[in-house]
Amino acid sequence: MTDHTTPQAHETHVVGYGQYILIWAGLMALTGATVAFAGLELGRWIIITALTIASIKGFLVLSVFMHLRFEDRTFRLFASVSGLVLLIFIVLTFFDYAFR
């Protein structure tokens, strides 16, 4: 196996340990925030804050841990489309049920 085929070499983006640790610290802080918010009596806002924080955390994992930021456009497009499909899927079903 000679090494003149390096399919990964031309597009490799090596993410430093520091950047990962920074993102991890952010995720931990957001976890603390979401637990703290849940302790307050926010009523109906609790689900909105909880889901907003969860979405930010999910975005951080997708973009940095899963390297979507550094991949080419096709990966990002695929991920956005599938996320959007899921969102439509949930929102439309929910509205159908809620206003029946």
Partner: protein
């Protein structure tokens, strides 16, 4: 590993498409998203129709255990992400160590989950338990969803840990190297997806009360 021209042509040119492999892994992850997505729809609808009972159900869960498990999974996502950097920089031992820590954290998560479920079982909160069936319909639905969704997630944790164990063996045997590490990337992507699903399960089951 021959250096003759013939050797290069017969065995030197191994076909490899890392881009395609990674794309395939992402496509698989999208199917996983739909699998869990269907359950999130069911959750949304039942929560809407049984709001008070869902809040009562959530009060039965231990927020502390849920928070600890969230932090365990987030940390395991960090270590598996760092293992890719390590192998890219040619640091084989560090990469194996980081994958090993990830697997250990997966086991910590499962042990916590085991104690959590055992406690629920001991107080009569499991599907078809007489005590659970005597509760209002909404709470029965809440615990039904709780066991199915966290159970399916735990199954993914087990599968992810096995995949990462195979990856660790591959690093050891130089199948995964600093120039060919897409197998480790695929395992890591799966692990991050397991983490993302938990990021949503945690507030929906533990915090919304």
């Amino acid at each position: 590993m021959t250096t003759t021209a013939i050797g290069v042509h017969t065995q030197g040119h191994v076909h490899r498409d890392d881009y395609g492999s990674k794309m395939g892994m992402w496509l698989f992850l999208f199917t996983e998203l739909i699998l869990f997505g269907g359950m999130f729809v069911i959750y949304a609808v039942y929560r809407f129709s049984h709001q008070l009972e869902f809040e009562l159900g959530a009060k039965e869960l231990d927020t502390l255990v849920g928070t600890i498990n969230t932090m365990v999974l987030l940390t395991s996502s960090l270590t598996v992400a760092m293992s890719i950097t390590a192998i890219q920089r040619g640091n084989k031992k560090l990469s194996m160590l980081l994958v090993g820590i990830t697997i250990a954290l997966a086991l910590v998560f499962l042990v916590n989950k085991y104690f959590e479920w055992s406690h629920k079982f001991s107080v009569g909160l499991y599907p078809q338990a007489p005590e659970l069936l005597s509760k209002p319909q909404g709470e029965i639905l809440y615990f039904g969803l709780y066991f199915v969704m966290t159970g399916l997630h735990a199954l993914h944790v087990i599968i992810g840990a096995i995949v990462l164990a195979v990856d660790m063996r591959f690093i050891q045997k130089n199948i995964i190297t600093s120039t060919s590490y897409v197998k480790l990337e695929a395992g890591a992507l799966y692990w991050h997806l397991v983490d993302i699903i938990w990021i949503f399960l945690f507030p929906l089951f533990y915090l919304v009360h």
